[in-house]
């Protein structure tokens, strides 16, 4: 029998889940891929078997058993209440779904590895934050609601599984905001707005993770012997103001008291699905330390935060009022102009000397 992993993916119908599934299909050391979701995947999957089931369904346990799954990739924790059908069902899915899945995992004898796609939102976002969050740092003000809270509860269940089943290696990947050509995220819809609302007087540092790197990290976690909690993000940071300039957009500073009302209006109108807990990101931002990702976990991201964002802008064709290439060209033309003026002036003086004029 050929050596290889037998992988179960949750959230395979999502854009990110689909990318991970396709990346795993490319690998020779992955023998079998089973995808679970409540929706049918819209994307092409070649050798992934799809099981339509809710995570809370006991069917999941039977699938684990029947397919002799040894690796579980739990990717279905969602950040967007709109897509999940409201905050209540989002929480139901994120937290209770993870709880049930972990219960099923605990009962699966062949299981060796569990990977959870978590988020940097578990660190919260506050003015008391350290400049860089390392995996061991605890949030000064932990997230009390929303996505961050869901993710930290899900992390709790996964860790509990690791404690109860010592033979199961548990990896938690805390992702920064995803950017990339295919995966939609809250930030993607934010940068698609005609003008970008910011919180007046605040300029958060943002960190991005390119979707290719996120997929790569998950594939690495599924196939290599890894364990523990790891931050996954592109190195470095961007200020929101800088990102807006890179995108060539116009910022509209909104005074703090009106920010949440505006976010609600945007959500109602369906233009941007920004959850209230993500608004604090616009105030204080968050940057994670990615040393462990590179040195212990053994995955080096192909993109830094800056290049990931550039790639995102390019592939999504986000073009603003000021085009960067135009700016460079204009600058060069101005140089040339000044240079020619200098030459003309000089030549005139030369001519004056040679003609003996004063």
């Amino acid at each position: 029998m050929v050596e290889g992993r037998r992988v179960l993916l949750t959230g395979v119908a999502g854009q990110f889940g689909g990318l991970v599934a396709r990346a795993l299909e490319q690998r020779d050391d992955v023998l079998e891929i089973v995808g679970i979701d409540v929706r049918e995947p819209q994307h092409e999957l070649r050798r992934t078997e799809f099981v339509r089931a809710d995570l809370r369904n006991p069917l999941v346990g039977r699938v684990l058993e029947a397919a002799a799954i040894d690796t579980v990739l739990h990717l279905s924790i969602t950040s967007q209440p709109g897509a999940a059908g409201g905050r209540t069902s989002m929480k139901e899915h994120n937290v209770i779904g993870t709880m049930q899945l972990m219960a099923a995992c605990q009962a699966a004898p062949r299981l060796e590895r569990v990977v959870l796609k978590s988020t940097g939102a578990v660190y919260g976002s506050a003015h008391t934050d350290p400049a860089l969050f390392s995996e061991s740092s605890t949030p000064r003000i932990p997230p009390r609601t929303g996505f961050g809270k869901d993710a930290s509860e899900a992390e709790g269940y996964v860790r509990t599984l690791g404690r109860r089943r010592r033979d199961v290696a548990v990896t938690v990947l805390r992702l920064a905001n995803l950017v990339g050509p295919q995966v939609d995220s809250a930030f993607q819809s934010f940068f698609a707005l005609p003008v970008l609302p910011t919180v007046a007087g605040f300029d958060p540092r943002l960190q991005f993770c390119h979707e290719e790197d996120a997929v790569g990290a998950h594939v690495h976690a599924a196939t290599a012997a890894t364990e523990g909690t790891v931050n996954v993000a592109g190195a470095g940071a961007l200020y929101l103001s800088q990102a807006i300039r890179l995108a060539g957009r116009v910022p509209v500073p909104v005074p703090l008291p009106f920010v949440s009302a505006l976010a609600t209006a945007l959500r109602r109108s369906g233009r941007a699905d920004v959850a209230p807990d993500q608004l604090r990101m616009l105030q204080f931002g968050r940057v994670m330390d990615t040393t462990r990702l590179r040195e212990e976990f053994g995955y080096t991201p192909a993109y830094t935060t800056h290049t990931a964002f550039d790639d995102f802008l390019e592939r999504r064709r986000i073009r603003g009022m000021i085009d960067r290439d135009d700016a460079v060209r204009l600058e060069r033309e101005l140089y040339d102009f000044l240079q020619r003026k200098g030459q003309e002036r000089f030549l005139e003086s030369q001519r004056a000397v040679q003609e003996g004029r004063p």
């Binding site: 003015h127 008391t128 934050d129 350290p130 400049a131 860089l132 390392s134 740092s137 007046a200 007087g201 605040f202 300029d203 540092r205 190195a235 470095g236 940071a237 961007l238 200020y239 103001s241 800088q242 990102a243 300039r245 890179l246 995108a247 060539g248 703090l256 204080f284 940057v287 330390d289 800056h306 290049t307 000021i322 960067r324 290439d325 700016a327 460079v328 204009l330 600058e331 060069r332 033309e333 101005l334 140089y335 040339d336 102009f337 000044l338 240079q339 020619r340 003026k341 200098g342 030459q343 003309e344 002036r345 000089f346 030549l347 005139e348 003086s349 030369q350 001519r351 004056a352 000397v353």
Partner: protein, 480 residues
């Protein structure tokens, strides 16, 4: 930016370009080549390279043929820019590659300027080209160094516009120039030239720098570090704004800068006073001007909660006064500055001036000993007098959520002077960087030994207090 198309425009150092070109072509560095012996119109020495008889291409004695050539290409343009169309001839030194492109550019300008007789200008293309080339090297010291790509681009553009209408060049600078000329807006162009003449060729360099800077800021093509430190913004915008205060308003004199290490990590510990944390900014600027190092400030969390102030603090490289951040900065060999008195020092009443408050809980000593870096006690004299705090309106402070609400003498002048009254007083400042206190000798377990930690904290505090007293005795008056 890793993108080559963008980074290309950011290379402004002409010396670098020149050195790179010399290295490529294998020719000796610029300094070694003989210069032209002639003098220019302004009476200065010609700075072109000599090519023949100790003279440059421009100053090579011309013959009759040259005269003819010049008269043929005589200007039909307005007097203000007449020089542009006229060029001395330098027949003996053809310059095929570059000259072609440059002359093309010139011809196209004449064309765009509405000069009907463009044939004459294009006819003299060969001459103008080489002359333009030499001129560039001499006058601006900068002009000759355009990348070949730029010249090529110009050549292509020029050849196109020489035949096509000038409308094709819409949006380009040359087009704007032509429009200005056509409509007789010579003042604008003359003004630009006047400015340039006033500042000589440094003006071009400065303008280039400014334009590049603006472009980078507007398009976001700059880098920040993980802590959010925007070095370009800090050194090019914020520090120059602060420098007049440092040099002329508070007339800072400092000594003991040799105690600040040039490379390795160190923890600068200073007293804090003056209601507003001006001393932190000025000390930071002083250290930067003397050593070129950025002292990364550790600030209270209140700073980062405050709108505008918090964002600016991050951009200047300040970060939260927490163990994590300080450890990280010191581990990477940065110079870190901390004001352990915090708001207790800033908001102390006038009667307590130059009396150091409690030095926090000694966390800075633990941090320094963990990182095995020296502590540099720093005393700032003068900062107490900028806003002497007469009372602290605690009730108002509590209502507004401030740590204190000062009543300073300047407030009584508000009805008379208006907002100008609130300027800080121009006290004379003295900064002393003291003898470094070595924490490495205590071993790394100092952080685990509270008694030793408190002892060392007191030692630092005592040393700063002594330095303050010494400098207070030494000063003649508060303001002089």
């Amino acid at each position: 930016m890793s993108d080559p198309a963008h980074s290309e425009a950011q290379v402004f150092s002409l010396d670098e370009q020149r050195a790179a070109r010399d290295a490529r072509s294998g020719s000796p560095p610029a300094a070694g080549r003989p210069r032209c012996v002639a003098t220019t119109a302004s009476g200065a020495r010609c700075r072109n390279y000599a090519v023949e008889d100790g003279r440059c291409r421009v100053h090579v004695p011309t013959d009759a043929d040259g005269e003819v050539a010049r008269s043929r290409s005589a200007p039909r343009r307005s007097p203000g820019l007449a020089g542009g169309a006229v060029h001395p001839r330098a027949e003996g030194h053809p310059h095929p590659a570059v000259s072609g492109s440059r002359s093309g550019a010139r011809a196209s300008d004449a064309d765009a300027a509405g000069d009907a007789g463009s044939a004459g200008d294009t006819g003299s293309a060969g001459d103008t080209g080489s002359a333009g080339d030499t001129g560039s090297a001499g006058d601006t010291g900068a002009a000759g160094d355009t990348g070949a790509h730029a010249a090529d681009a110009r050549a292509r553009e020029a050849s196109r516009s020489a035949t096509a209408s000038s409308g094709e060049r819409q949006g380009s600078f040359a087009w704007a120039e032509a429009q200005l000329l056509q409509r007789g807006y010579l003042a604008a162009i003359d003004g630009l030239e006047l400015l340039r003449d006033a500042a000589d060729d440094r003006f071009l360099e400065a303008l280039r720098g400014l334009v590049g800077f603006l472009r980078r800021r507007v398009t976001g093509a700059y880098e920040i570090d993980d802590f959010g430190f925007d070095e370009e913004l800090t050194t090019k915008v914020l520090m120059p704004l602060l420098r007049p205060l440092h040099r002329h308003y508070w007339r800072v004199t400092s000594h003991g800068i040799e105690h600040v290490p040039e490379q390795s990590g160190a923890l600068l510990v200073a007293n804090h006073a003056g209601t507003l944390p001006a001393d932190a900014l000025i000390t930071r600027l002083d250290v930067f001007d003397l050593t070129g190092r950025h002292a990364r400030e550790l600030g209270a969390d209140l700073v980062f909660r405050t709108p505008v102030v918090g964002a600016l603090a991050r951009k200047t490289g300040a970060t939260l006064a927490s163990g994590d951040d300080a450890d990280r900065l010191l581990a990477s060999g940065e110079l870190v500055a901390v004001w352990p008195e915090g708001f207790k020092g800033l908001g102390k009443p006038w009667k307590d001036r130059y009396k150091l408050q409690r030095f926090g809980r000694g966390g800075f000593v633990a941090t320094a000993s963990r990182a095995q870096v020296p502590i540099i006690p720093t005393a700032v004299v003068g900062s107490e007098e900028i806003y002497p705090m007469l009372f602290d309106l605690r009730i108002v402070a509590r209502l507004l959520g401030f740590p204190y609400f000062p009543v300073v003498p300047q407030m009584f002048a508000l009805p008379v002077l208006g907002p100008f009254a609130l300027l800080p007083l121009p006290s004379k400042w003295i900064i002393e960087y003291g003898e470094p206190i070595d924490t490495a000798s205590f071993g790394s377990d100092l952080a685990e030994d509270p008694m030793a930690l408190f002892d060392l904290t007191d030692q630092v505090r005592e040393q700063i207090q002594q330095m303050l007293q010494r400098n207070l005795m030494g000063r003649r008056s508060v303001f002089l």
